[in-house]
């Protein structure tokens, strides 16, 4: 039983990571008042290109670099349309997500000649980091030790960003831009520049989320493998109004749900219901949030 719980908590950290990374990315655009729903798609391209780099160069680091470049490209594309061409942000986001889906599905077929999923020993996964201090803690330490570094990075960035957003010049400028673009401009901030920066940062972090999915969480690429995680991260951002600390805690809750679902499968729960859990959880969280909000209405 205890072993199961430990396993569950370990899986929680792992499941929470991609959602958290994407949500932290989306946090930048949230504070810059950009309605950015492209995390889903950027995560997907990130996952694909991580596998691409890792497969062809036999090196996870190059996979990471490829993924970051793809994230940069997709984010720049989003910014080009939504900021420069002044297209509707929501529509642009859908376009980017569709592009990601179409591109990765097509590329999977035309580059790797497979349909559905690419599983290959040639894909080098992210290395796992053993933290010596944690290792000495025995079983509890095991929950926290031996994850790919992106897990630690996600948690560290959430804490760091909490400080940066509220106490740093960059955070101040970002929030000012989002809250009142004209006022920010009048204070000498360049709002368009801030928006570009926010979008690019979102692209990089979402791509990292994808890297974790395809080289950390599992070691494969499958069609549409982001499977709604980008949307869940968006829901989290809206729920916690962008607060990085809130993102950290809610991502953990979603990670917990996902791992509970995986464990329940061992107890004869149909796998379809297990897979449903994160989405049901999103609805439930939104429901409780909605109830709170309703109390405050006129």
């Amino acid at each position: 039983m205890i072993e199961l719980l430990l396993h569950m908590f370990r899986a929680t950290l792992s499941s929470a990571t991609p959602i958290m990374l994407a949500a932290l990315g989306g946090m930048f655009t949230y504070y810059a008042n950009i309605f950015n729903i492209a995390m889903e798609g950027i995560m997907l391209t990130g996952a694909f290109f991580a596998v691409y780099g890792s497969y062809f160069f036999g090196n996870w680091f190059l996979g990471l670099i490829f993924a970051l470049i793809s994230g940069l490209f997709m984010a720049a594309l989003f910014a080009l349309f939504a900021i420069y061409f002044r297209c509707d942000q929501f529509i642009t986001g859908i376009g980017i997500n569709m592009l990601a889906l179409g591109w990765t599905t097509y590329a999977l077929r035309s580059t790797f000649k497979v349909k559905g999923a690419l599983i290959s020993p040639k894909i080098v996964p992210l290395p796992k980091w053993n933290i010596p201090i944690l290792d000495r803690l025995g079983q509890v330490g095991n929950i926290f030790s031996g994850h790919p570094f992106l897990v630690y990075m996600a948690f560290a960035s959430a804490l760091l960003l909490e400080i940066i957003i509220f106490n740093n010049k960059f955070g101040l400028h970002l929030r000012a831009t989002g809250e009142d673009q004209e006022a920010a401009k009048s204070a000498g901030i360049k709002p368009i520049k801030m928006k570009w920066i926010a979008t690019i940062l979102c692209g990089l972090l979402s791509a990292l989320a994808g890297v974790y999915l395809s080289l950390g969480y599992v070691t494969l690429f499958s069609e549409n493998m982001s499977n709604g995680r980008g949307w869940i991260s968006l829901a989290i951002i809206i729920l916690v109004k962008g607060r990085p600390i809130g993102i950290l805690s809610l991502s953990m809750i979603f990670g917990l749900f996902e791992s509970v679902g995986l464990i329940l499968q061992h107890y004869k729960l149909a796998p379809q219901f297990a897979s449903m859990i994160p989405y049901l959880a999103t609805l439930f969280v939104l429901y409780f949030y909605g109830k709170e909000k309703k109390k405050l209405q006129w």
Binding site: L77, F81, F85, R86, C87, D88, F90, I91, T92, I94, G95, I96, M98, L99, L101, G102, W103, T105, Y106, L108, R109, S110, N227, G228, W231, L234, A235, I238, A270, Q272, F273, S275, M276, Y279, L280, T282, L283, L286, Y287, G290, K291, K293, K294, Q297
Partner: protein, 351 residues
Amino acid sequence: MKIFRRVIISLLSIASAFLICAILIKIQRNSPIEVYKALYAYGLGSWFSLSSTLNTATPLIFTGVSAAVAFASGVINLGQHGQLLMGAILTAILGVYLNLPGLIGIPVLVVFGGFAGALWAGVAAVLKKFYRMDEFISTLMLNFIAEYFTIYLATYPFLDKKAYVPATRLIKRIYFMPDVSGLSLAFFVAIFSALISYWYIKKTRSGYELRMMGHNINFARIGGCSVELNTTLVLLLTGFLSGLAGGLLILGGTQHRFMKGIGANFGWDGVMIAIIANNSIIETLFYGLFFGALKNGAIGMEFETAVPSEFILLLQAVIVLVVVGARSAIEYYTQWIRSLAKLKKVVSGND
């Protein structure tokens, strides 16, 4: 004149999208001309191609009109996928167990499919009305839930043990949708539904309220439109349309049973079509046919050339981005150019 301009801009944008993708094909060392030739030949080239294009376009028209009506009303229903699946599964199950003469059975099954879709969208409507949940997130989540739920139903309770993949049993043969030399009647139902939707949104009082909500919801609310009720109505109506798509996919498609992957990408295709059509229902109809031709042509293209049919997914997304980008960039920059011309006139007038 305005319509002419719009048509030209759309045509040019689509042409540019094809050009961009041609470059991609070329990079992959295939011949774009061959690819597009095959797309045309298998999409529109013969009566056989044409009729199967129209059949392929049928669900796209439904999900497209569903998205267009919702977006035009300012309701972000992105749940076409889930609503279609729920419609399909209900029709598939009833088609196995229900005993009715074909003439009555077919319409009843289709309408039940519609109801299933409406009900599924109704979940989002309830969440919106009572708990103020953004419908765009709830409908998305409901897509995933519907996906897993329908697969569960086809894998366990209603599994056809003789099938190789998880699928429900074949529906009764009397419920197969009749066709006119290969063209399923479902297509005509799609056209009819699109026209009814057009009339509703353009001519009726309720449709007027919906469109005004889409333009400016505060204006509509202050003006006395029943915003909450209308939002619910739109979700139910558009859910119904997507559900119809699902039902007709079972009765009029090629499988006549529910199996994994039957919903394909129809939901998002519909959303893309509505976006390209700028939420106009008549344009949605045209782009539905266009996407149908692409999809249908893609099967032949894969057969004839080395380019896999998934290429179409990429092409569609590029079309969306180019059309949307061109539309707003052209509007913005023509205004800017006009202002320069005016400036020149004013400055010279003063000297």
